[in-house]
Subunit: 130 residues, 2 copies
């Protein structure tokens, strides 16, 4: 028999931890968070599950400055990213998504199945400090 997905405690708690997060936690952050509920969980398990969950469409992975971060928001959306601290703010806009997809369709005969626009700037916090 093959591919029987098990809903283990670890998996469920990781999903639950991510559920309403909007701050795109790192692996480290998720590990620490889930550890409160499941003190014996290993970081490898967290890595394995995050990979599994994103490959199977339960969550989405974003890579900022070379490190992986995860979000539960599956709807197409865009990001505003602070160039200093790496903070990410989600930004949903069907108008922008559609415009981009239509635009590229006109320009090239490409077969695109996802778009995301990243806006870069400096957040209020970081602007204060210098």
């Amino acid at each position: 028999m093959k591919n029987k997905i098990k809903y283990t405690n670890q998996r469920v708690e990781i999903l639950d931890f991510l559920k309403h997060k909007t701050n795109h936690p790192t692996v480290e952050g998720i590990y620490k968070g889930v550890k409160k509920k499941l003190p014996r969980i290993s970081k490898a398990t967290v890595y394995q599950n995050l990979k599994f969950l994103s490959e199977n469409g339960f969550i989405k992975e974003v890579n900022i400055k070379g490190i992986s971060r995860f979000e539960p928001n599956l709807k197409p959306h865009h990001h505003i990213i602070c160039k200093k601290c790496g903070k990410i703010i989600d930004f949903e806009s069907k108008q922008l998504t559609n415009f981009s997809l239509e635009h590229i369709k006109k320009i090239k005969g490409f077969n695109i199945d996802g778009v995301e626009t990243n806006f870069y700037g400096v957040c209020k916090n970081c602007k204060g400090g210098k």
Copy 2:
């Protein structure tokens, strides 16, 4: 005295190697390429210079799937990225850039100084091999 930039052989050759590349080489690729001209160059030097050059606006860094890649194209532009092999195609469009910037200005009072849209799909090569 402080901050006197030296135009060393290594630095010049790295810049020169990147000059007309449109394939967004990785550190490894740049290292191998430059090694042909300067066989004694070390990988640390390549890393140091790529960091220096991108921090000082000579080149741009892109991070795809967690690994750093570099491009000489400093003009604002967008990317079409193959989800399978990671191939990146540049895609310049002032129209899209301007639309995005205008759009976000309307939505939020944000102070944005850069945009880039990433389109995801599967390239012809990868499409063939299922």
